[in-house]
């Protein structure tokens, strides 16, 4: 165990004898500031193992002995659950479960149906009697809903074609010939393909029976379209890290790209005039969650539940809010945000003051308003969730061919 190996290396809190919790996940949530505060609040030692989305999922599914907590997304959960790598969680052990359940079953549903196509998180939340995951409430869940958001794309208002700037924002811009050579997609088979599918559908270049679950023929058509576009020089590149996405926009290498919130706030804090679209077709949603390895037992298991509960207790949610992310138990978050922050990030109101990001630099100027409205407005306009489709394996192989083309 790492604690013994490091002997008396000086942590902020003397955690000798306390369990070490190994957390596997991505840069989205495995932030140092959060780790330090959690260690201090919980009196445990945290070992963060950060990978990109695909590496983390691969390890999670195949090496459950290498982590205790897996922090990723609901569209990954089914694969990892079905591999037997994570254990069912007792909802009763979650302090803020009532808030979370309300969020999952009201904010994310409309007329009894999940909002948005594809892997709506409620479809993978509850462990059913036959051990599969489903939306019908039981006492056990696959993973604790946590950080979530709605994604679109980012663009430099002053650099894109003037005709476009005058039109309502649309996913179609990502494939629009007027942006040729100045576009980047994310190099992730599920998410990049989802952005591309939304764009293709918006432009009428493709039709999908169910955009959340593409057929083989639809995947082939989309891949052919992307390869054609790539060979015509439409894409500057495909980015595989948040830092790369940030640099592309900052350096002016692209005018429009798949973009995630950490890049957005980083760009704003550097004074780059980048707008986050509120596409008329709706958003692509994703929902993070925290799962516990099938091997976690005893003190480690207890520490894991403590860590999960800590995430929902408000402080972490406030840190994430300053990056633009939402939290499944947002009522706990209000107390840790200033009224101006709560007003801007959640209520969609103009910023009453300048607002700082996680590193203390100003990311939002007084008077700025979040594109797309309030938290509840934006959630209700999710048209598609990040998904692991039936033909996910085929999509992975075809996406690799697009990347290599």
């Amino acid at each position: 165990m790492k604690a013994e190996a490091d002997g008396l290396a000086a942590p902020q809190v003397n955690t000798r004898g306390k369990p070490v919790l190994r957390v596997l996940g991505t840069k989205v949530t495995l932030i140092d500031e959060i780790r330090r505060r959690a260690e201090s609040d919980l009196g445990i030692r945290l070992d963060y193992s950060v990978g990109d989305g695909i590496e983390a999922q691969q390890r999670a599914a195949t090496q459950p002995s290498s982590y205790d907590v897996y922090d990723q997304w609901f569209n990954n959960v089914d694969i990892v659950w079905s591999s037997g790598a994570i254990q069912p969680l007792r909802a009763a052990r979650i302090t803020n479960w009532a808030q979370v359940e309300r969020h999952m079953r009201t904010a994310l549903m409309q007329n009894g149906q999940p909002i948005g196509r594809g892997d709506a998180p409620i479809k993978y939340l509850y462990v059913q009697p036959d051990k599969r995951l489903g939306p019908h409430p039981t006492d056990y869940i696959s993973a604790l809903p946590c950080v979530h958001h709605v994604d679109a794309f980012g663009y430099r208002r002053r650099s894109i074609a003037p005709e476009l700037a005058g039109e309502p924002e649309s996913w179609g811009w990502l494939l629009d010939p007027r942006c040729r050579g100045r576009v980047a997609l994310v190099d992730d088979p599920a998410i990049g393909a989802a952005d591309a599918a939304l764009a293709a559908q918006a432009l009428g270049l493709a039709e999908f029976r169910d955009i959340g679950n593409l057929t083989i023929e639809e995947i082939d058509a989309l891949t052919r379209l992307l390869i054609r576009k790539k060979r015509a020089g439409h894409f500057r590149t495909c980015w595989s890290s948040i830092d790369e996405a940030t640099a592309l926009m900052q350096e002016g290498a692209v005018d429009i790209e798949s973009l995630w919130t950490p890049s957005l706030t980083a760009l704003w804090s550097r004074g780059v005039d980048v707008q986050y679209a509120a596409p008329k077709e709706g958003y692509r949603g994703w929902h993070g969650c925290l799962a516990i390895s099938v091997n976690a037992r005893g003190a480690v298991l207890d520490a894991a539940y403590d860590y999960l509960n800590w995430w929902l207790s408000g402080w972490a949610g406030a840190v994430m809010a300053r990056q633009g992310y939402y939290m499944a138990a947002h009522e706990a978050v209000v107390e840790h945000l200033s009224p101006a922050e709560w007003g801007y990030w959640y209520r969609g109101e103009p910023a009453a003051t300048d607002l700082c990001g996680p590193d203390g630099s100003i990311v939002v100027r007084q008077g700025a308003r979040r594109n797309g409205g309030s938290y509840w407005d934006r959630l209700s306009r999710i048209v598609l969730w990040n998904s692991s489709m039936d033909e996910h394996n085929y999509l992975v192989r075809r996406w690799a061919q697009f990347i290599a083309a």
């Binding site: 195949t62 692991s388 033909e391 394996n393 085929y394 992975v396 192989r397």
Partner: protein, 331 residues
């Protein structure tokens, strides 16, 4: 150069039958698997089958010792233990040497070829280069074409319009379709097969499952997929309607996929498949064909779910090194 129509055991059977018909072998001559196999330069399995068939037809007989004897038309003779060549068994008589050697090569490479192609299926769509396949396995183009023909019968490859053999991709929709066919046909075929199933054989099959259950998970992918042969080939296909057998065989690609998943993903910590197989055998042993068919149907339905999940889990694996005769091709 046509399809090789005869299986290896048929070639051996015909050769021995020819010798017996022409009375080239002395009455009482003891025929043992090992020596016969050595003379024909094949493995023992086809000889065993050929001797069993000859004995079923009364052309050779069992006796008070190991192996079979050539019958004496005048009744009881002492067993004659002679060197078979000296006794008149001529490996060149009643046999086409080329056919025999082609068949031997075929049997040798078929399992390996089926596995190699099966392992590649989830990773894309592949064209098979016949010449390279021949080089890879050290066999002639004739043998390669027969191997591919057999793979086509198993649903493993297809012949594309421009005359190329295509393997893969293994998709969720294909898996669903294969299981839909199997659910419709296998339980019915099993009921039809019941009169031909021997209770001792069924007990042996059930015991094979129990042995693996006891050792689980200390088992190999080969052992697990071997159980599939017992149920889905030896039992389900033991019917008179050969056309139906061919249709069922062509829908059984998922059985090859089972081996593929086990190889790439490892032996799962738990597998309900063993209990599901055992239940079918137990119903058959109890003399309840309808219950056996229902258990088989349930097993197939759950197998479909497992296959779809395993295919998704496999998406995290990058394409492994592929055999030189497989070339990635666009749809």
């Amino acid at each position: 150069m046509g399809r090789l129509a005869r299986k290896l055991y048929e070639i051996v059977y015909d050769a021995l039958e020819g010798h017996l018909r022409d009375r080239r072998l002395p009455p009482g001559l003891v025929l043992l698997e090992g020596p016969v196999a050595e003379i024909f330069r094949t493995s023992r399995a086809p000889v065993k089958t050929a001797l069993r068939m000859l004995s079923e037809r009364g052309l050779v007989e069992r006796f008070n010792g190991r192996g079979f004897i050539v019958p004496d038309p005048d009744g009881g003779t002492e067993p004659l233990r002679l060197d078979l060549r000296q006794a008149g068994l001529d490996p060149n008589a009643h046999i086409d040497e080329d056919e025999l050697q082609n068949r031997v090569a075929w049997e040798r490479i078929y399992s390996a070829a089926e596995r190699e192609v099966g392992l590649a299926l989830p990773f894309g769509r592949f064209q098979i280069n016949e010449a390279r396949m021949g080089e890879h396995f050290g066999v002639s183009r004739t043998v390669v074409r027969d191997v591919l023909g057999r793979m086509q019968e198993r649903g493993l490859v297809e012949k594309a319009p421009r005359s190329h053999w295509i393997a893969g991709p293994l998709t969720a929709s294909a898996i669903r379709e294969f299981y839909e066919i199997r659910v419709m046909l296998e339980p019915q075929a099993l009921i039809q097969a019941v009169p031909s199933l021997d209770i001792d054989e069924l007990a042996a099959m059930r015991n094979r499952v129990a042995l693996l259950e006891a050792r689980y998970p200390q088992v190999s992918a080969e052992e697990l997929t071997g159980l599939d042969v017992d149920l889905h080939t030896r039992c389900v296909q033991r019917i008179a309607n050969k056309r139906l057998v061919a249709i069922i065989r062509q829908a059984q690609l998922p059985l090859i996929a089972n081996y593929t998943f086990l190889s790439h993903l490892g032996i799962p910590e738990e597998t309900p498949e063993l209990a599901e197989h055992k239940l079918v055998f137990e119903h058959l042993i109890q003399g309840s064909p309808a219950a056996a068919a229902a258990a088989l149907k349930a097993h197939l339905e759950r197998s479909l779910d497992r296959a779809l999940i395993r295919l998704k889990v496999l998406s995290v694996k990058s394409t492994p090194p592929l055999p030189p005769y497989l070339m990635a091709t666009a749809p």
